[in-house]
């Protein structure tokens, strides 16, 4: 079923591919990615920008897609968890999360991996305090924090 009355078709670049989307311009990017483009990496957690489950990279910077209107994306490229590793398969942060077995249910893990990848791109050798501060806005309800922090440290070492 197609959504009713799309006024315009906006073009966005997702994981390296330009996509024309029908959603109304005020639609938060999260629903465009999930419901129109069929991506499942970013997830709805709060709709308030408080938890990070919906995090994507917008021109390389972490953004909360649940509160970001489609119209505000403009020509900035969007990267989701599915596209984080690019052509090389898994991103080192993704691999580190697997190596450390760093999740319980994993619903939140998109936010942690996306935010950590942006953190390491900016600060390749962060201190433990910098990692904690950099990831302070992310909720993990199950409590897998210790392993996720270890995974970020491991990824930092792997990137060397």
């Amino acid at each position: 079923m197609s959504p009713s009355a799309p006024a315009t078709r906006l073009r966005i670049t997702v994981n390296g591919t330009v996509r024309a989307v029908r959603s109304a311009p005020d639609t938060p990017l999260l629903y465009v990615l999930r419901d129109e483009l069929g991506l499942s990496g970013p997830r709805f957690g709060c709709g308030l920008g408080q938890c990070g489950a919906c995090t994507v990279l917008l021109a390389g910077a972490p953004a909360r897609s649940c509160t970001l209107p489609l119209s505000a994306v403009s020509d900035r490229p969007i990267t989701t968890l599915e596209g984080l590793g690019g052509d090389k398969g898994l991103h080192p942060v993704q691999q580190a999360f697997i190596d450390e077995q760093a999740l319980q249910c994993g619903y939140c893990v998109n936010g942690w991996i996306m935010a950590a990848s942006a953190l390491l791109a900016k600060t390749p050798n962060p201190s433990d305090a910098e990692i904690r501060a950099g990831l302070r806005g992310l909720v993990c309800r199950c409590g897998a924090h210790m392993r996720m922090l270890r995974a970020v440290r491991r990824a930092a070492r792997a990137r060397g």
Binding site: S2, R34, G38, G85
Partner: protein, 761 residues
């Protein structure tokens, strides 16, 4: 289903299995047939599963095995543990085992998930079935290879003659195109009634069980290729949102203002006090729910003011009083004591607050329904949805799909009820996900508990008597198993009575005091259609009751001037209890001295250590917390947690460590931060700002885990136990550091400052 999922999917559907040739299918039970043959139904199998079959294992002609279980994955690695157990018995690689969980058309009814029993009880018939499959395969191999069974060995699904390994046959070759049905009798899912022919392996022979096999679900989750219940999509799917009463017990007067057909709105649904909207897209559903004009009657919650809650609880008259234990003469013990001490403790309402708000998809057609849900009780939800929709139970198909982590009876079942009602009204499949305020505001809550404890001490500091009472709202005001329409929030809002029963707050402890009384009381609480309805939240109410008892043990030890570890060991008799306390103390580098520390500073930063110990069913543990208390601000920082954990036989050490770590962090969050806030208009803690949880900067510097493995014991359970002793360990550490006793959870800076101010100089 999302086609990108790489979650373990079944290789054979049940229908295919029934048809197929070339398989070994092991089933347990068949109560009607058994009943005729044996004169009585198999224990525990009365409800039966699909076609009355009680447990399943299938070995296909490609040599792979599929296990069918009602136990579901909540994020702790249980699916991996099941795969390990089956792989072990069958001598298959773990990757050759698929796990099908929670599907009312394909898996047996094992009464869902709860109480840390998925492995301890749920895996018993699975292991037995796998052992039986192996026995059959070895018999086939014996005939084919011309060697007795005891001369055969198996590795990775290939059977060889031990002294002539060139003579070999794979499982697939042995099965060929033939079909073998094996029905074992009398397995109801408990260890006691295992009467199958094959004997499972001895733990000493384990090669896969007991090793840290990586979790089978993690690679897909890290890659963004895992399909959760929120990712279920079916053709023609619509999106729904629900609107709850603004005030508990408000009655719907009118819902309107959003015309159907405009803005993508397909349907506005109002049934008694249940209100929802259905739209073409998710965003349209959200907008329609926001703009819907709903008029409700004026109402006021039948609750005490939040500030008066604990006093009101003590003033209420219990509806149930259960004496869980009474030894010796408590009154005489207290009367003869050189001195008595007493204290009261308070534990708030807490929320599951699932990371992903509750979500479900329902496809309700005339005469039949399919429900995709993250429920912990697939077969019980099937019954509840059937009653809600007015369908025969067998016409409802519940398919479990993994959800956001849930820790007991969370909102997943309620979302399924919502989706069912909306799909029935819309005549098309509907996906419902709650908004954050629906989740944190309206999920079933862990009940508030108050505790009163008193003890008598003789002249030498020995305990003469111990008298403990925990009083709380029922732990089952909303039952864990949603088997009636009234057990679902939608049903309650449509006028069905909640099926709740009185479940007193349980306490488990094993101190050998000369006289002891342990009492649990239930006090009444409005449940129907309420955002403060009460249900199971991880180790239901035991974090509260143990907070009371283990804090008080510490208070008595301090009154006696005895080191807290030494004091506990004086009164513990069972070797496994003593062992976890000794192991935790040793790992923590515990030095023997009474609390509080003598040199405790009265201002500025103070540091201290505390211990707490608990059994939970057959699992035992001791937790040591080290804290740093800022006496100016009241901030408590937990710098280190050490736990010694004994849950019997360990299936997967690394998976267990991950579960224990997460238990410790979540229970630390509950101890330091979590409290449902409410006023007469309803619950006011509705998001991550008003219901804060522990975040990365608050995590300890280190968590150290000592696993005490017992291959000679069955596997017990680890999903809950490590949650239980964290709050008292932290409270005891705050006392050790400062001499101030916090007796109310959570230990907010305000409460800590108040406790510091109460210190006598």
């Amino acid at each position: 289903m999302n086609s990108t999922s790489t979650h373990r999917t079944y290789r054979l559907s049940r229908r295919e299995l029934l048809r197929t040739s070339g398989a070994i299918v092991v089933a347990f039970g068949m109560p009607p047939l058994l009943g005729a043959a044996q004169g009585a139904p198999a224990p525990g199998s009365a409800a039966g599963g699909a076609a009355g079959i009680d447990a399943w294992l299938a070995i296909a002609r490609d040599g792979t095995a599929t296990v069918f279980t009602d136990k579901v994955e909540l994020g702790m690695g249980v699916s991996t543990a099941f795969a390990q157990i089956v792989a072990e018995e069958l001598d298959l690689p773990v990757r050759s085992v698929s796990v099908v969980m929670g599907d009312t058309a394909r898996t047996p009814d094992q009464r869902g998930v709860g109480g840390s029993t998925s492995i301890s009880a749920g895996a018993v018939p699975v292991r037995q079935a796998a052992a039986e499959g192996r026995r059959m395969l070895l018999e086939l191999a014996s005939a084919r290879l011309g060697a007795p069974v005891d001369r055969l060995t198996v590795r990775d699904g290939v059977v060889r003659v031990a002294d002539d390994p060139a003579r070999r046959a794979s499982y697939g070759e042995l099965i060929g195109g033939r079909r073998f049905d094996v029905t074992l009798r009398g397995l109801g899912g408990t260890a006691a009634d295992a009467v199958a022919a094959a004997k499972p392996k001895a733990p000493a022979d384990y090669k896969i069980v007991g090793t840290s096999v990586p979790r089978i679900d993690i690679p897909a989750k890290a890659a963004g290729r895992f399909a959760y219940v929120v990712d279920v999509r079916v053709p023609g799917i619509l999106h729904g949102r629900v609107l709850r009463p603004p005030v508990p017990e408000a009655k719907l007067v009118r819902a309107g203002g959003v015309p159907e057909g405009a803005g993508g709105v397909v349907k506005v649904v109002a049934r008694n006090n249940f209100v929802g909207v259905v739209a073409e897209t998710e965003w349209q559903a959200i907008q329609a729910a926001r703009s819907l004009a709903v008029t409700w009657s004026t109402s006021e919650a039948r609750w005490p003011a939040m500030a008066d809650l604990y006093a009101a609880m003590w003033a209420m008259t219990p509806t149930t009083r259960r004496v869980a234990e009474e030894t010796g003469d408590v009154e005489t013990g207290l009367a003869s004591a050189a001195r008595t001490i007493e204290a009261r403790y308070e534990w708030p309402f807490q929320s599951h607050a699932m990371m992903g708000p509750a979500c479900a998809v329902a496809d309700v057609r005339p005469g039949a329904a399919t429900i995709w849900s993250s429920t912990q009780h697939p077969h019980q939800l099937q019954a509840g949805i059937a009653e809600l929709l007015g369908l025969p139970v067998e016409r409802v198909h519940v398919i479990w799909v993994q959800g956001s982590g849930s820790y007991g009876r969370a909102g997943g079942d309620d979302a399924a009820g919502d989706a069912a009602i909306l799909s029935q009204a819309a005549g098309r499949p509907v996906r419902v996900q709650w908004m954050r305020a629906d989740e944190t505001g309206w999920d079933p809550k862990g009940p508030a508990v108050v505790m009163a404890v008193r003890a008598g001490l003789d002249a030498h500091g020995g305990v003469t008597a111990w008298d403990y009472t925990a009083r709380g709202f029922s732990g089952s005001g909303t039952p864990a198993s949603p088997s009636t329409a009234g057990d679902l929030l939608a049903g309650q809002l449509m006028g069905r009575a909640a099926g709740g029963v009185d479940v007193p707050p349980p306490l488990q402890e094993n101190y050998a005091f000369p006289a002891k009384r342990r009492v649990g009381e239930v006090i009444p609480w409005p449940q129907e259609g309420s955002p403060l309805r009460t249900s199971n939240l991880r180790a239901p109410s035991q974090p509260a009751t143990t907070f009371g008892s283990e804090s008080f043990v510490d208070e008595v030890a301090a009154a006696a001037g005895v080191d807290p570890v030494e004091f506990r060991l004086r009164y513990l008799r069972e070797a496994r209890h003593v062992a976890v306390i000794r192991a935790a103390a040793e790992k923590a580098g515990w030095t023997s001295r009474p609390s509080p520390r003598r040199d405790a500073p009265r201002a500025g930063l103070a540091t201290g250590r505390g211990i707490a110990h608990t059994p939970r069913n057959n699992t035992v543990l001791a937790t040591v917390a080290e804290v740093e208390v800022n006496q100016s601000t009241g901030d408590v920082r937990v710098t280190r947690l050490v736990i010694a954990h004994d849950c019997g036989l360990i299936i997967n050490p690394d998976g267990l460590r991950g579960t224990i770590e997460a238990n410790l962090i979540q229970s630390m969050s509950r101890a330091l931060k979590e409290e449902v806030r409410f006023d007469r208009s309803g619950v006011t803690s509705v998001d991550w700002h008003s219901y804060p949880v522990l975040m990365a900067p608050d995590a300890p510097d280190t968590i150290e885990i000592v696993l005490l493995n017992h291959p000679e014991l069955p596997p017990y359970g680890a999903g809950e136990p490590a949650s239980v002793a964290t709050a008292p360990a932290i409270a005891n550490a705050i006392f050790d550091a400062t001499g101030a006793r916090v007796r109310t959870v959570p230990f907010t800076p305000e409460r800590v400052k108040a406790a510091l101010a109460r210190r006598t100089s």
